[in-house]
Assembly symmetry: C2
Homo-oligomer: 460 residues x 2
């Protein structure tokens, strides 16, 4: 710790928590998919909010930029240094305490470094439920899911991460600490400052802790696999279910025949729920506080009616948890069954999902005759994972992106539904966002971080 | 229309829509409770977003401030001119079109001047439900409920107005139009700009339209009146109900014995649901997509268990819609039954509601021996209407406020849960908000409205 910068840094956190040896830093200087790599002066691992504040102040004096990093599971390079200026990686992992659980308030206070699964378990232990759930939940951290406003499989019923937050603690770019750790369901005393930092990917400050809502635990769930003629039939079925069973639809996942076939070929413990071949499927799950029998009979009646009216081709309702798990296994195996193609994480209004698929398929077929798409995703959120071709198409990746993104733009959609902009889509977004919107974002950035030291090269 | 300012204004909206005659302007220059009054140059009534933009540009050139006004039903003077500088009232009432209803997307696009009840009806006509509901719903407007992030009786289940918004259209302080009317459930492409304008009380721009979420309509509801020993028992009962019936608790309203007695004396068509006297009550409502019988039997079982365990003193479940309406009539009559006292609209974490009441009662009894409080409200949101004394106490209003607000502050609560700051609490909030938080708010205000022409003298 000999440099003019590292010595005072070590004085704040202790020498053991300033990492400079390549064996220690390597994992922090790249993202987990190894798509990005950037050198930084060091990785610093503060133990508490006060240390974070001291680090941010020191960096301000020394004009060193800060890259906040949680579980480092992001998909857009948002937590990897860019290396265009002096930077440090600020790892929040040691700040992993759940400070407080209040079952009567249905809230808990978690530090930024808490692993998501641990927060889920803390809620569970209090007889409650924390609904944010995604593939990386065993390693992603609260600071990261807040900073990317993470989505996942429960958005349809519970909303994005933003909707799970009651209060925040944030170290601002000047090193001051904003203690916004209030647990209020209603507070109309001025601008809702926490909203600024949620989804800002660390570019406006460092989130160090949050008050999170817990939910009542659903007591019953039922799962079905439904065969459909078209994506439009899927959107109609969702509307029908909302008519009949209200808001208890907790998952509504579209799967194309091609995705199912890829899964059947790849995952040998899966099987087609139907004997016949169908072009499209949805996995439907209902949850509420009634009983399994009540939910199931309501789902059965709705699906029977849809089949009678020709709006669905077939349906299979899971008779047991085991059968439900087998249906989920199909859905969850899709990513690994078709991993080397050109991927998109896009969203449109739910009613426009059929148009999105129709237009994108037509445009892709024209540009790449015979190309095959793997289409699946959270159709109930208007969010599709729209994956195209195979490894051979990677060389023309940006052409494929352009075609899909232009269709999304023509439908007023988003080119990053769940994964944020990070480094990955920082340039591309300029083609899609209104100039005025980008300028508003820059205005906020300049106002809160005038020296541009918070996670530079990301988002903006 | 002879002045240098009114002539170009009339050129934008037509002479008929620039009101200067006192008979036309009087209602716009005061709030409906007539607590505030302020003169402005005129009231201008644009027909569309383009006209709003032109007006804002003209005001910028002429250095005239803008007071956006909707249904003018606010309780904090947020839509009344202050009169400290040249101002106009910008009435959005003519912009009352519902531009689009999309049942498959569960969304609708409403202009700022739409009356809330009309939006509720448009959702109803589409077989859906718009959950924001409050006393002024027959006259308050969408722009106003967005700008104040209105609460109301359905927050427990559906959240505040903020949580009902998918997109916004806003005329910015420089007269440019931000078209953020997207209907995306997931969009992680940068800062969530709409959050800035929701709840900003018109101080950062003029909301001209919004994309609002519609919800599935609950098919069943059941209502009960429960007698309790203490406010702590109420909070425990809520926790118990969440254990047993999950998130279908849609209302959970606390009523003190004194409030009930005031209602019985005032509203002759009401009667005490119980023969015995009890110190506290809650009105509980459950809603979901099952059946009345299913909901009722679950509620009955939960309440029976609570009574057996001594956690509740008695309970009456409404056997019909008529009986449910009679219970709601008690709750809804409370405001008019005790209207001339010193009022507070405060919130704390739900688990701290008992402490709030205990501490405030003790402090008030010390300062004003023998004083009586009327305590009721949305305890499920941690939000109490805490009203003290009678007309005679009005002279010492600010002392009473101070006592209640200091207790709220000691519990990290809010001095304006639902009603905003406006002019009413603009000074008081300085005692309660951290200096850093106020400074962050000022930073945002300066960044977005550098000339300070958007609703001056409100919030900040």
């Amino acid at each position: 710790m000999h440099s003019e910068f590292l010595r005072p840094l070590a004085a704040i956190v202790g020498e053991a928590h300033v990492l400079t040896d390549e064996r220690d830093t390597a994992g922090h200087f790249t993202d987990w998919r190894k798509q990005y790599y950037g050198r930084a002066e060091c990785v610093v691992r503060p133990a508490n909010t006060g240390e974070v504040a001291e680090i941010v102040k020191l960096c301000g004096r020394e004009n060193v930029a800060i890259v906040p990093q949680g579980g480092n599971t992001g998909l857009s390079g948002g937590a990897t240094p860019v290396g265009a200026q002096r930077e440090i990686v600020l790892s929040l992992s040691r700040m992993n305490r759940i400070r407080h659980v209040d079952p009567l308030d249905d809230s808990l206070v978690a530090e930024a470094g808490c692993v998501l699964a641990n927060v889920q378990q803390a809620a569970e232990a209090a007889g409650r439920y924390f609904p944010v759930s995604l593939a990386a939940e065993g390693s992603c951290q609260i600071g990261g899911i807040l900073s990317t406003n993470a989505g996942g499989v429960n958005v349809l019923r519970y909303g994005n991460t933003r909707e799970q937050v009651l209060g925040l603690e944030v170290v601002l770019p000047d090193g001051s600490v904003w203690d916004g750790l209030r647990s209020l369901r209603k507070d109309n005393t001025g601008y809702d400052l926490k909203q600024l930092f949620i989804g800002a990917e660390g570019t406006l400050g460092v989130i160090t802790a949050a008050v999170l809502k817990m939910r009542a635990r659903p007591s019953a769930s039922t799962t079905a696999w439904v065969a459909l003629e078209t994506p439009a039939a899927a959107v109609e079925l969702l509307g029908r279910l909302r008519d009949r069973v209200g808001e208890c639809v907790s998952a509504f996942e579209l799967v194309s025949r091609r995705c199912l076939e890829a899964v059947l070929a790849h995952a040998h413990d899966t099987q087609d729920p139907f004997a016949a071949v169908h072009p499209w499927y949805v996995l439907v799950e209902l949850e509420d506080a009634s009983t399994f029998e009540s939910l199931q009979s309501r789902l059965e009646a709705s699906l029977a009616e849809c089949i009678e009216q020709g709006k669905a081709r077939d349906a299979a309702i899971a008779a047991s948890h085991l059968q439900a798990a087998a249906l989920w296994r199909i859905r969850e195996s899709i990513p690994e069954a078709q991993f080397a193609n050109v991927k998109h994480d896009v969203s449109v209004a739910v009613s426009r999902v059929p148009l999105l698929i129709e237009r994108a398929e037509a445009a892709l077929a024209k540009a790449f005759p015979g190309v095959q798409s793997y289409i699946f995703g959270h159709v109930g959120d208007g969010n599709l994972h729209y994956n195209v071709g195979d490894r051979g198409l990677q060389a023309r990746r940006s052409d494929v992106n352009r075609i899909v993104y232009d269709v999304v733009a023509s439908l007023d959609g988003s080119i990053s539904a769940e994964h944020g902009l990070g480094q990955l889509k920082r340039e591309e977004i300029k083609r899609h966002k209104q100039a005025l919107e980008l300028e508003l974002m820059r205005t906020l950035k300049r106002a809160l971080d005038p020296n541009g030291l918070m996670n530079p090269g990301k988002v903006l």
